[in-house]
């Protein structure tokens, strides 16, 4: 399914680039991220406990920062598998300055496979959007706490 959106941050584009490149922030902001270890620069092993309310699944996988063009854009690839199945996503994240604000816009595709896809198709799209929104909210919180 397609996910896309925009968020506004009160900071410079360079600050936002650094914010999004910092592993510590990603670990806090990625929904359900319990562990994140850098394998090589830009490549991370992750343990995700993703879920909503009582519905939780544990996925082990990878997150990669690909084709970085600081401070304008990069691609984020992620995939994880666990007993409920797998999740796979990729997004292009772009930054642009607008006065004192930086606009972060993202466009991507997410695939969910296995159990959740089979019985949860009704809500997958909305929940994926919601989690993307949570990610940015948490990033904004990190930004605030650093300022």
């Amino acid at each position: 399914m397609n996910i896309e959106g925009k968020h506004k941050f009160l900071a410079s584009q360079e600050q936002i680039w650094d914010l999004f490149m910092d592993q510590k922030n990603l670990e806090k902001a990625i929904p359900g991220c319990e562990k994140m270890e850098e394998r090589e620069p830009g490549k991370y092993d992750v343990l995700l406990k993703i879920g909503i309310a009582a519905i939780k699944g544990t996925y082990t996988g990878k997150i990669e920062v690909v084709d970085p063009e600081p401070p304008n854009r990069y691609r984020l690839l992620g995939e994880g598998s666990g007993s409920p199945g797998f999740v796979k996503g990729e997004a292009t994240i772009e930054f642009s300055q607008e006065g004192q604000h930086t606009i972060v816009s993202y466009q991507g595709d997410m695939q969910v496979g296995g159990l959740i896809a089979g019985i949860g198709q009704r809500m997958i799209g909305g929940i994926a959007k919601m989690m993307a929104g949570q990610f940015f909210k948490k990033m904004a919180k990190e930004l605030k706490s650093q300022q």
Partner: protein, 290 residues
């Protein structure tokens, strides 16, 4: 489809249940009717390590009137609410909405509290509670608090209930006489989760004027949506077909639908318009005494 292993406790009072929650916190899940939880456990999408069975907390099973509120215990079964003369008289929209939940056997087990806490975006009770502007009373180790629908429902399957809290009661303002109301929904089969649902309430004044309208949309967002701009169109007006038409179109703009296998976002948005229209016409009819 067998659940993963869990420990099982029963509680016979609210205090006991909270104690168990304090002990097991995130590992625990409360089970009442189980109509949503048990399938999730059988599919293993939910794997609580501890189940706290509250079906024995009789003190939470009641329907009564206190002044101008209908007060309902969280453990009250949907079927009882559907058949309750008090609810049918003082809060008929709730009885109507509940009659559309699944099938009778499901309603015999399902509870109003369970439905609210589960917060499915296409469920009848949460939508109706929004429309009624009912309050949720919640109890935890640090005391109790009362939440409005907008505070209670956060998103898909998510409420603002803290891990150690239990929903104990729902308080519904009694609808004045001559209030128009309707609950209409679009489903593929009888008893399915709805594609779109609309709960409408029209508070009337003398001369057939609508004092205040509540138009609540279900199935077109992560939680129910109050179509406030559409409501404004009707406030203080005599409700004509023209205004109903306009309100329908305005309400469609307030919808935030997703596409899924059964219905596209465009379809849901247009059905919002259609069902708001149909719902308002039905509510107006009831207001007239029809």
């Amino acid at each position: 489809m067998k659940p993963s292993a869990f420990e099982y406790f029963t509680a016979s009072t609210v205090a006991e249940a909270i104690k168990l929650l304090e002990r097991y916190e995130d590992e625990a899940k409360i089970i009442a009717g189980g109509q949503s939880l048990v399938p999730m456990m059988n599919f293993r999408v939910a794997q609580p390590e501890v189940l706290i069975d509250i079906n024995g907390i009789k003190e939470l099973d009641y329907i009564r009137q206190e002044d101008d509120e209908i007060v309902i215990g969280a453990l009250t079964r949907e079927r009882d609410l559907e058949l309750s003369p008090l609810v049918q008289e003082k809060c008929p929209i709730l009885a109507e909405a509940i009659s559309l939940i699944g099938h009778a056997s499901i309603r015999t087990r399902g509870t109003i509290g369970g439905s609210l806490v589960h917060a499915d975006p296409a469920a009848e009770i949460p939508l109706t509670i929004y429309g009624l502007d009912a309050k949720m009373r919640v109890v935890g180790p640090s005391g109790e608090r009362t939440l409005e629908p907008e505070e209670f429902f956060l998103s898909y399957l998510t409420t603002s209930l803290e891990p150690l809290e239990i929903l104990v009661e729902v308080r519904i303002p009694v609808l004045p006489q001559k209030t128009g109301w309707s609950f209409v929904e679009l489903t593929r089969r009888r008893g399915d989760f709805y594609i779109v649902a609309v709960a409408s309430i029209l508070f009337m004044e003398k001369g057939g004027v609508c004092k205040e309208a509540r138009i609540c949309l279900g199935g077109v967002g992560p939680t129910s949506i109050r179509a406030e701009e559409a409501e404004k169109i009707l406030a203080g007006q005599v409700i004509t077909d023209e205004l109903i038409e306009k309100a329908g179109q305005k309400a469609a703009e307030a919808a935030d639908p997703e596409s899924d296998y059964h219905a596209s976002a465009e379809y849901r948005r247009d059905m919002t318009r259609v069902f708001v229209k149909r719902g308002l016409a039905e509510a107006r009819n009831r207001a007239k005494g029809g």
